[in-house]
């Protein structure tokens, strides 16, 4: 049987940010610069930027409790056609549990039955091709995967 060798994942960048509100802007700018030229269309790059910002906000606020001395770690890798951004905090299971238990429902929010907030994970899921969450002890990581080179659902090329 012939096996086609798949290239090993290539680390493109890794960096840390202090857990201070607003630093998600630094994360999205740096990730955008890192993946420039790797085949993401403008619209998909905007989606990845939004997902990175939301995941970094969650890590800063819910994972690390806005404690600047605990860094949010960001790693960008390319794995074949996939760009994978891993964003880690030290919140353990608490990071994921900080999100809303229910799917955001705009009508319920307008009627006061749900908080106006709670859009973060919903937006992330709708922005990227895959979202995975792992927890290893206190280390909580969200993995954002975006395929390059192809069109997303409903997008014409």
């Amino acid at each position: 049987m012939t096996q086609i060798a798949r290239p090993a994942p290539r680390r493109l960048d890794t960096f840390e940010l202090p857990s201070e509100p607003g630093n998600e802007r630094l994360a999205l700018a740096r990730v955008a610069e890192t993946v420039q030229g790797l085949g993401l269309s403008d619209s998909r790059l905007e989606k990845l930027k939004t997902a990175v910002a939301e995941a970094t906000m969650n890590a800063i606020e819910h994972g690390n409790g806005n404690r600047a001395e605990i860094p949010v770690e960001v790693e960008v890798t390319q794995n074949g056609d996939d760009i994978v951004v891993a964003i880690s905090d030290q919140g353990g299971d608490a990071t994921g549990q900080a999100g809303p238990a229910q799917e955001p429902d705009l009508l319920q929010k307008l009627e006061g039955a749900q908080s106006p907030r709670g859009w973060g994970l919903f937006l992330i899921r709708n922005m990227v091709d895959a979202m995975d969450i792992t927890t290893n002890g206190q280390r909580h990581t969200i993995w954002l995967t975006m395929r390059t080179g192809g069109a997303e659902h409903g997008e014409h090329v």
Binding site: T50, E54, P104, L110, E111, L123, N126
Partner: protein, 121 residues
């Protein structure tokens, strides 16, 4: 965290316009609330609030929450909210969140005003 959002308001016949610039995130709560209050004033007959995002370069989930709050307040006051100047990316986010089911979207302020005030005589 200091807000990176600014708002200016003006009143047209039957509509108030809130022109936003910068970043619409959680830190913009006071800016947006005050702008809404200034825009609608005490005019109970003012039927429409226009949110102009032409000069906004960033909206995040907490900014979406603020827009939801503005929409909820406007609905409670029986006012319509329309929006203009959103980039294609943020138009899609308005679609995904279903905000566009409740907020009519226009490409720019001229289109919004033209629609709201009718064709020029």
């Amino acid at each position: 965290m200091a807000s990176m959002c600014e708002a200016t308001t003006r009143v047209l016949p039957g509509a108030a316009v809130i022109e936003l610039s910068g970043e619409v995130d959680g830190s913009a709560a006071d800016v947006l609330t005050n702008a809404y209050q200034t825009a609608v004033g005490t005019d109970a007959d003012l039927g429409t609030v226009v949110l102009d995002f032409s000069a906004v370069d960033y909206i995040n989930s907490t900014g979406i929450a603020l827009i939801v709050s503005v929409l909820a307040r406007a609905r409670a006051e029986r006012r319509k909210v329309v929006a203009c100047g959103l980039s294609p990316h943020y138009r899609e986010i308005f679609d995904i969140t279903r905000l566009s089911d409740f907020i009519e979207l226009f490409p720019d302020l001229d289109h919004a005003v033209s629609e709201l005030t009718g064709p020029a005589a």
